[in-house]
């Protein structure tokens, strides 16, 4: 599913960040490389925003400064991930080609002065980025510092969609390729509804400003089109580089933080997967979202080691309240990424910018300079990572797969669903957190993937399920797998059309249940769910009126609009079991479901104290457990082995880990699990 991934030639764990020397004097450059050495930096990304300096006038190039900085870095033993600057075309470009500017849904044409790529559909932009990529590749293909290419930056952010005329033209072309005939398009979009029938391709417009909600199948296709178009732009640059250079090529994703790129498809295009991740400061459990994004990144990359291309040493600058990391937090964050498969730990950015929109973003060298808490911790982290070379290249074990489908998310997040409150992202986070608290490590997957190796498949939010996907899940269960599915599942097909036969029709075989009607709750309303064994939990936002078709009722609604009906069901099919949970439950409440599901799946959570995160990387016979204590108090765990960071040996099988601390334990042969 993904291309053959290739690792850049950096020894050990790669460590560093975005480096923007163009913001500083040569004097500072020299201080920079000295400090990089002090901090253990061995890789930096250069040139991501440098178009205006590399091509100050159209067709006039200036590589001298870049030659100089690459030389300086190379001489200092710092390798370079060389960026292409396509995310930020220069002022002259937008002045010369105003038609390349991006148009919003409301028809506002966005000007220069911040950052953001041109319209993905602009022919002149596509020519310009190919030319720039080729120029860079020609010049630096053999530069000894350059070990990797970094195309663009965070595709889709801050703009992805374009509603201008060039994009509409490209959209029509895309639709012709997808549907062939207008008959097919009219059928797929259900244009008979509301009289939207098309009889000429030229009449098809973008889903821009309309009097009321546009056709949802059109909007879903528009999301696919935009994603495809962005990927075309990537391929243009990638291929221009590859024509001249052999280093691996990447572009930095934003897994579970940016929403308009289908990373399953993107990962197939890159040589190595890389990801940016930023904490949402307001969330006191932001490290759970971090773990999710790390697992997702690893999963789209097929389990191979990946690059944490950007995270922050402390606060970011673009949130309402930008919470600074406290002492030790950066290390916990970095090593959680590492534990979940990142063999490169990078930051935005090396040195804090004095100017511009992100001057309040933290950096490896903060405004306060090297004599600061942040730089001390950066240096300590560099020293820690240097001790972890033996882990490099290892994978991550997971017995559980969580289904994560961008197309289903796009469809579910369209307008006019039964309840605004039941959303893909929230459900994904809540169900993931249940597994996280149980220290059950997961991979993410699509339902169409081969799931046979997993004991348990979890589908927190699978609104769009194709007939093919449903058949595969059915086969998976029949063959002995355990499946647990969250509410509002199997509702529509790939065109956002309700399945013939009603909600959940394609899941009827596997789940043994369908839904007759959705029962959203009123604001503030809650409903009790009673299990046969007497346990009772509370759900909110959502209930369903289920029709049994073979499943047994595990729990019923004790209150709310569904009172008396089935709430949680279990269906034995072949050698497996399939569960359905038809209400929204919180992390605590889900425990009551998952304890039963784990039993069916023979998944045994290790029983570590809650708040201590443990994830194990394995290569061959060797295992390395990364242990992160998120609690404000120490914990003891039944783990035997040697902490690579401190050299401490826990031959008695009891690892003591201080509040806020991290250990990376090369595992001994004894049994692991449990603790207090």
């Amino acid at each position: 599913m993904t291309a053959q991934l290739r690792w850049p030639s950096v020894a050990g764990v790669a460590y560093g960040g975005d480096y923007n020397p163009e913001q500083w004097s040569r004097e500072v450059w020299r201080e920079d490389v000295a400090l990089m050495r002090e901090a253990g930096v061995n890789l930096v990304s250069v040139g991501i925003f440098s178009w205006a300096l590399l091509e100050p006038k159209e067709g006039v190039y200036d590589f001298a400064w870049l030659d100089e900085i690459l030389g300086l870095l190379h001489d200092s033993g710092v390798a370079v991930d060389l960026g292409t600057p396509s995310v930020s075309p220069p002022a002259w470009f937008f002045h010369a080609y105003p038609e390349a500017r991006v148009t919003t849904r409301e028809g506002v044409i966005m000007g220069f002065g911040s950052r953001g790529m041109a319209s993905h559909a602009s022919p002149v932009y596509r020519v310009a980025i190919a030319r720039m990529a080729a120029a860079l590749a020609t010049r630096y293909a053999d530069h000894p510092a350059v070990v990797m290419w970094h195309v663009h930056n965070e595709y889709g952010v801050p703009v992805g969609e374009d509603f201008g005329p060039q994009a509409v033209e490209a959209w029509r072309t895309w639709l012709r390729a997808r549907y062939g005939t207008l008959e097919e398009l009219n059928a797929a979009w259900g244009t008979a509804f509301w009289g939207q029938h098309y009889d000429d391709w030229e009449h098809v417009g973008a889903p821009a400003a309309t009097p009321t909600t546009p056709n949802p199948a059109m909007k879903l296709d528009w999301a696919r089109f935009t994603d495809d178009a962005l990927r075309e732009c990537f391929r243009i640059e990638r291929d221009a580089i590859r024509a001249h250079a052999t280093q691996p090529i990447t572009t930095n994703f934003m897994a579970h933080q940016s929403w308009n790129t289908d990373l399953w498809k993107w990962a197939a295009e890159v040589d190595v997967v890389s990801d940016d991740h930023y904490l949402v400061g307001q969330d006191p459990q932001a490290h759970v979202a971090l773990a999710l994004s790390a697992d997702l990144t690893r999963s789209v990359g097929g389990g191979k080691p990946w690059i944490l291309m950007e995270h922050s040493t402390s606060a970011v600058n673009w949130q309402g309240r930008n919470i600074a990391k406290r002492p030790g937090e950066m290390k916990r964050n970095a090593l959680t990424h590492f534990g979940r498969g990142a063999d490169a730990i990078m930051f935005f950015q090396w040195r804090a910018s004095r100017y511009g929109a992100e001057k309040f973003h933290s950096a490896m060298v903060p405004h306060a300079g090297p004599h600061s808490r942040v730089f001390r911790e950066v240096t300590e982290l560099g020293a820690d990572l240097a001790k972890l070379e033996s882990v490099v290249g290892s994978g991550v074990d997971a017995q559980v797969a969580v289904l994560y489908d961008w197309e289903s998310m796009w469809a579910q997040e369209l307008e006019w669903r039964p309840s605004d409150e039941l959303q893909f992202r929230g459900q994904m986070r809540t169900w993931y957190e249940r597994l996280w608290r149980d220290n059950v490590t997961v991979d993410f997957a699509l339902p169409t993937h081969d799931l046979s190796a997993y004991r348990l498949v979890v589908a927190p939010s699978s609104y769009l399920v194709t007939a093919d996907a449903a058949a595969r899940l059915t086969d998976y269960v029949r063959a002995g797998g355990t499946l647990v599915v969250g509410p509002f599942a199997g509702v529509v097909d790939e065109h956002d059309a309700v399945h013939a036969g009603g909600f959940m029709a394609p899941l009827r075989d596997v789940l043994g249940v369908t839904c007759e009607e959705f029962l959203p709750l009123r604001e503030g309303e809650r409903g009790a769910v009673a299990f046969a064994d007497g346990a009772s939990i509370i759900g909110d936002v959502w209930q369903e009126d289920l029709t049994l078709a073979g499943a047994e009722v595990v729990a019923t609604y004790a209150s709310g609009p569904g009172a008396g009906g089935a709430a949680v069901t279990r269906h034995v099919l072949g050698s497996g079991q399939a569960w359905y949970v038809s209400t929204r439950l919180g992390v605590e409440e889900l425990k009551e479901v998952f304890v039963r599901v784990y039993a069916d799946a023979q998944v045994v959570p290790p029983g570590y104290p809650e708040g201590v995160e443990v994830v194990t990387r394995r290569v061959g016979e060797e295992g390395f457990s990364v242990v992160v204590n998120h609690r404000d108090e120490p914990a003891t765990l039944n783990v035997t082995g040697t902490d690579l960071l401190t050299g401490a040996v826990t031959d008695d099988g009891v690892l003591e880990i201080q509040a806020g601390a991290v250990a990376v334990v090369r595992l001994g042969s004894h049994h692991q699990g449990g603790g207090s």
Copy 2:
């Protein structure tokens, strides 16, 4: 005031819904008509969104499929309310005539892809809809299935206003017709304020985006203009049909749910009044708003039976949380409409759409198919309605009139009023609910109507009162009527200008009081109102500083900015009494006022248990009480007669009604009222 209303030739209570066969295969059509027969359906609306299929290219018509479906329906004994598709011009239309698209206040031109009519002012649109209406009328004037014409759909929704150049041109023409000279316009709009004087008609623009609040008289006229322009579009279609066909013509209103059509004027244009109504799911008392809209619909139609053209079998799809109806609720809703004068009970729509923006809207045949709770209840309702033929044609008795004036609402909802929190809609709903809880049935009226037949006239929110209206209310009271007026009344004239003489000047004679100053409360602030007899209630949002001019003080402000001043006054004038309530009161608090007002008006609430809704239809000597128990427990009422639904006879005068149940009692001769 309204035209002679004409009922379509359907026997008994009409029952059915919107039917969109173009979304389905011929196979499904055959299942549809079979199910319609099973459900007792005798009327469906067809073709509302079919323009693109009826005229696939400009001037090329295809009526074959419509011929076929009308034949099929007719053969199955289902009559047809034939729609004109003007609410949804095809893609080719907007492509050929982009100037017909609607422009928003901010200048955004809205494209194709959802639904919504063209600009009401577009000449080409007006030609196209006349041509289509004529084509349909020519072809189906004599079709035996077609018993009624359904022009357009929900005028004003989702777009009514247009700010494009054609609309501005029409606006100037409208203004010339209204004012004759610019001197008149300048005077009416008070353009001396803020230097807005016009000396050329061409300088008058739309009240679109402006640096700050536009001239309010201009905005009020703009609302009138838009309403008039929409009605012109209706008349174009109606007259085109009438030139060829004789069946009654309607268009579906949205009483108390859509705001930019003055239904007093619209009702005068149709042959039979029809209305769409949808519950606001978040409101646990949504059935009160339903009753209000039903009474309003009947009232604009002059008390004649009307058609409930659309409501829902269960949830809708366009709210934040779309609450499904629970068992029995659809029946209660439907029979409440019936009790308040609807002789046709119709739904949107017959069969749930698998595609499009409204796929989560419930239907008579839901996605789950006929073997479902919803379809069972649909069939039961059809059987119930079949028992009610004897009620058809009867009217509804009301001793009380509530003033409801769209122009006053438009004026009051303009910007920059003393408090954003005091609004027409909220006041209307609260005061109506007081009467509803008391089972005091009301008609709605304009102050300029003949009110002499009513014992009591209630004016919850009469911000705009013309001198003529005030004189009529004065005459009404002087002749023995009782009037009760809510706060912020009689403030402005038809140009939204404060009356010469100050706030309430034209109501001074009738109310014996005027207002010197409005005293809005701060957020969260409340103020006590003390009655002479010791009763005390709490108001919020608003108080007034009143100047007595003949009225007696019934209650004074005990706290708040008006403390010490009059809060509620009563004025004896001629043989009548006029009350003024100068603060905002809740439904419970209003009881303290209405108990006194009822006494003056000799209105005697029947004393049924609260939460049991009883409304009585009468024809000649016969009376039929529709009894709806909204409570979660049974009730007994002093009602004598025979329940037409069950055949049960309550000769002892005591009707037992179960929780959530409905009875339609053909009344005996005994006294009615009271219960527990």
Copy 3:
């Protein structure tokens, strides 16, 4: 710093308001002047919105009605402040010159129909206002009624910024003048960040709609440019008048209520400073903001008497809930302005408008007419002011300066700061209110002013501090001054660039402390601050990680992310002391800081009961204390003298003041201060 201020030739305290006779008939005019006499009015502002009447067609003037009204006023002894109508160009102007309309950031071109000037950059507008001003000045230079010129109205409201092409052209010219070369501009804006380098002036656009946050230095310059451009428009009119007329010229500010005019610069352009002030009704302590705005107005005018050009007799109309003033409140407001230096007390407006967007704005003659509470109080106020002639021309004593810098505010309010919750305006208000409650009268100042006369300088919110400003503050402290600085100070330079050396670098010398990292709190989070002597207070929103550089720690963080670190510091430098407060504190909490700061500064609050506001005007040896009791109960104060309003003599040194009352005491020689 300000021009030589000149007072209009009105004897005693000027009293009156905006007068818009064009809205009324000649009959009303005669009633008006009679009522003005009754109310003691001696000055009215005329013609502010009269362009359409004065020049009904381009180049055609009609001054007859203005001649007439000026004559009538003069005959009645009422002087005139004659307005130029440039804030409201007529319909014909915008029709003839559509390019003069204002364009929003999103590209919406705003039309006619409300009010608001044309684009400040429009050449044709500039010509038109110069011509109109010259025409008025020519005609009325020698009119005996006209004692002052009132140019425009509230510059910047409701529109100041323009993003249309003419404004962008002017912006480029302004930038060329400011920076000379593009190299300078690129350096100042830090265009190396995000690749924003310019190599052609024509490529520089406005900071309009962009994909994400625009360059902050660009936005800060845009604010300066807009302010300058508005001031250019003022100068065009002023100079056109001055060419013909000699009366003083003003324009009405909105100190601390409108934000895009730097009043330090504006005050230098006018002959006499005038200000509009409106209460924010929702704020129960709105009189504190009133006092702030009055002190700020006096301060920008260099301490000279100023004109309260507009305030309201009761409610305004443009807030969500427009709270009416209660009896006595207008007098308290008016005399607070007077006490803080206003020698003219004026209202918007004389007579309430029956028409237009502001019909619910209160006036001197309300809709209820002269027989009303409001007009009675207006007349009483006129009589009161007539007793205060001896105070006219006096100044206000202040030992304390508060730094108030528009440029710093503009910079701080740009996007993407560490916390949205820490804002200039809120901090300014809170810290001011601390001083207000202590009855410590303040002047406002810029850090670059000569501060040597002040015992204490308070800097609540000084985000932008230039090196020059920092040096002056350092000198001030070294020479014996006391300085207290609030959080998030000294962060950036004049280009919104973080100071080289880190946050607070330029304040290091004076404060003896810098900030290593900002520590915003999560929503709802709070943090304790513990003083060495055991006192403890709670802050919210913000903490900092401080690095000491000579300061002593006065209080430390007891909880929150900064726990254990310094919260409040004190630095002895030369003969002075400099305090730094690094968290956000409320008015009550600040007491704990200010009691210590006052001691350092030898500022002795007078000890009047809280809620009694006392401010003293002085001229030569004479002092006049304006005493305003904002409490609901009486108070006694140790004040000796004679109340000019009542004639009461407090020879025993004890002034009794009733709840809500005001006294203006000509002070005796005894000691003042204290009370209960």
